[in-house]
């Protein structure tokens, strides 16, 4: 029987704020510009320059803090974090140390089949991003040198530090998903992990059952800079097993930083952190304390947009199944699409069904998102209305939807062009039904002997003869009536 351990995970999430200019200077923050084309003496770390705080960055940071249920400090301060690395031109990063912008927040996560769990946020602070290194080699370890692009140096970041409240890789995934969804409604960041506008470091340790000391004293492994939520989850899963193996075999966990290899799904050692970090923080002499008016903070709080928890509740209250509500909540674009469509269409459940099955399927095929969907909310509602009016069957409508995406034409135009109108005329459908029944006596006999499936075959034959345009429930009804008449002619 192996010893048992409890998994302890804390996450540090860096989020780039989408201000137009950098945190302390007027350089543009546009992603993907030519290397070193967005720099100035301030962000290059030239001597004699002074940083000036960007008001919009502070607003976005406060908004994020409030949405994550944090307390915003009326007075916070900036500090210098000293370390040498080539992406940091000043050899210190302006950050916030002992008096961060905000503290004591939480994110709620919903493990499948479990209760809602509040994961604590210890602090949120504002800091500047570093530049970008391009290593000349496959990996940092065997690079012969690096190329430095300082466009990113000085871009505003918030760092969101969770409490070590997470107990599994799945909880970490849920936390990140909820955090990202919450921030997405605030318009404060692009939140693209693959582009680095949201980055996550995961601290993972195992606590032996019965361990009485502080969690902070457990040997901790930090998995750095993973580029997707899925990979954070994979990296943590691997790390839990790696540490468990070591502990079960009586070995020691080394406190270190590890990278994650997407191809192998494994973590690998980057550098040992045996020696405690010694950043020699001290107050930034070039920036006086940040003092915020309480009334300004309260104003921001009052003007927070609708956030995931409230959206979930209102969707479920409207009768949207919770699974569908979850998809809408976590994808702000889908939720906005839905909101626009529902103002034009009363049957909200049907709307959600179409959006999350057929529309989503075509969007995925075309690599489009809801916000750029070639078929917008209004066009979708026009299509659904044609179904309600009996012009199209559900099956025909799916075909029309694909054509709408391909041609950008309206549902009505496609129906007209292709002569697709549903055949609802009883006499017209009845004639086809009669001929199908006459030409398939054996199938009719099968049906009469109790083979229910035989009916589906007959329906198929009628549909084929009408190019799919006969109204399905009418076909069903007329077939059953027709068979009843033939088998019981005396009546």
């Amino acid at each position: 029987m192996s010893a048992s351990f409890e998994v302890i995970i804390g996450l540090e999430v860096h989020v780039e704020l989408k201000t137009a200019s950098k945190l302390f200077c007027g350089c543009s923050t546009t992603f993907g510009a030519a290397p070193n084309s967005q720099t100035c003496p301030v962000c290059l770390g030239m001597p004699g320059v002074l940083p000036v705080l960007n008001q919009e960055a502070i607003r976005m940071a406060c908004l994020s803090a409030l949405a994550l249920h944090c307390q915003v400090r009326p007075v916070s301060k900036f500090d210098r974090k000293q370390y040498f690395y080539p992406d940091l031109p000043k050899a210190y990063q302006i950050s916030q140390y002992d008096q961060p912008l905000a503290e004591f927040g939480w994110v709620s996560v919903r493990p499948a089949g479990g209760d809602v769990k509040k994961v604590g946020i210890r602090r949120i602070h504002v800091e500047e991003d570093a530049g970008k290194l391009n290593h000349l080699g496959q990996r940092l370890g065997d690079a012969v040198g690096s190329l430095v692009d300082l466009n990113r140096a000085g871009v505003p970041l918030i760092e969101i530090v969770s409490e070590p409240d997470l107990r599994s890789a799945e909880e970490a995934r849920l936390y990140l998903t909820e955090l990202r969804a919450t921030l997405s409604y605030l318009d404060v960041s692009d939140l693209r992990m693959e582009e680095g506008s949201m980055r996550c470091d995961a601290n993972v340790s195992l606590r032996p059952v019965g361990y009485a000391g502080s969690v902070e004293d457990l040997p901790r492994v930090e998995i750095k800079n993973v580029n997707s939520i899925r990979n954070v989850q994979r990296g943590i899963e691997y790390e839990i097993e790696r540490q468990r193996e070591l502990l079960v075999h009586g070995e020691r966990i080394v406190k270190e930083t590890r990278g994650f290899d997407d191809a192998t799904g494994q973590t690998y050692s980057q550098r040992s952190k045996e020696e405690a970090n010694d950043y020699r923080y001290f107050p930034e002499p070039d920036l006086p304390p940040l003092v915020l008016d309480v009334s300004w903070i309260e104003d921001l709080r009052r003007n927070l947009p609708e956030l995931p928890d409230a959206i979930r509740q209102s969707l479920v209250a409207r009768g949207i199944p919770s699974k569908d509500a979850e998809v809408l909540v976590l994808d702000r674009e889908a939720y906005e699409y839905w909101n626009a469509a529902r103002s034009l269409y009363a049957d909200e459940r049907t709307l959600v069904n179409w959006m999350l099955s057929d529309v989503l399927r075509v969007l995925n095929l075309r690599n489009e998102s809801f916000s750029q969907a070639s078929v917008g909310p209004r066009a979708l509602v026009e299509l659904l209305t044609l179904i309600d009016q009996g012009t199209l069957s559900g099956r025909m409508a799916k075909e029309v939807l694909e054509a709408m995406f391909a041609t950008q034409k309206s549902a009505a135009d496609i129906v007209k062009e292709r002569g697709l109108s549903q055949i609802t005329d009883v006499a017209a459908v009845g004639a086809v039904v009669e001929s199908v029944l006459t030409s398939h006596p054996a199938v009719v006999a099968d049906y009469l002997s109790g083979k229910e499936k035989a009916l589906a075959y007959l329906v198929g034959q009628v549909m084929k003869a009408t190019r799919g345009q006969a109204k399905p429930d009418l076909v069903n009804r007329l077939l059953i009536e027709g068979i009843a008449r033939e088998s019981n002619p005396t009546r």
Binding site: T19, A20, S21, C25, G26, C27, S28, A34, P35, N36, S37, Q38, T39, C40, P41, L44, V52, L53, N54, Q55, E56, A57, I58, V75, K77, Q82, Y83, F84, Y85, P86, Q99, L133, N134, H135, L140, G141, A143, V144, G145, S146, L147, V148, D149, L150, R271, S272, N277, D278, R280, P283, P285, L287, P288, P289, L290, V291
Partner: protein, 101 residues
């Protein structure tokens, strides 16, 4: 508090100073003398005095989020000892005893 040789070597490493064996002792002596001088502050009575956050007594002054012209790439790279693909070239980062942040 008095600094010993190990403290001196640690601080030197953090500052990327390479001290020879002969240099450690005089540096330790000088630094201890500086610390001793600063200790004078302990003689002051600081009861009921708020810690100083910043010497200026000012509040942070905020600027509007407007983009200002940057330097040209040529200007930005002018002082770089080596440039490649419009980027600063730096030597290998990991290994060689200098595994750092």
């Amino acid at each position: 508090m008095e600094l010993d040789d190990a403290d001196i070597l640690h601080v030197a490493r953090l500052a990327r100073l390479q001290l020879t064996a002969a240099e450690v002792e005089p540096v330790r002596r000088d630094l201890n003398r500086v610390l001793e001088y600063v200790q004078t502050l302990h003689q002051l009575n600081l009861d009921n005095i708020e810690p100083t956050m910043h010497v200026s007594g000012l509040r942070a002054i905020l600027r509007n989020d407007s983009v200002q012209p940057s330097l040209t790439v040529e200007e930005a790279l002018r002082n770089a000892p080596e440039v490649r693909e419009a980027m600063f070239v730096v030597p290998r980062i990991m290994g060689e005893g200098g595994e750092d942040e």
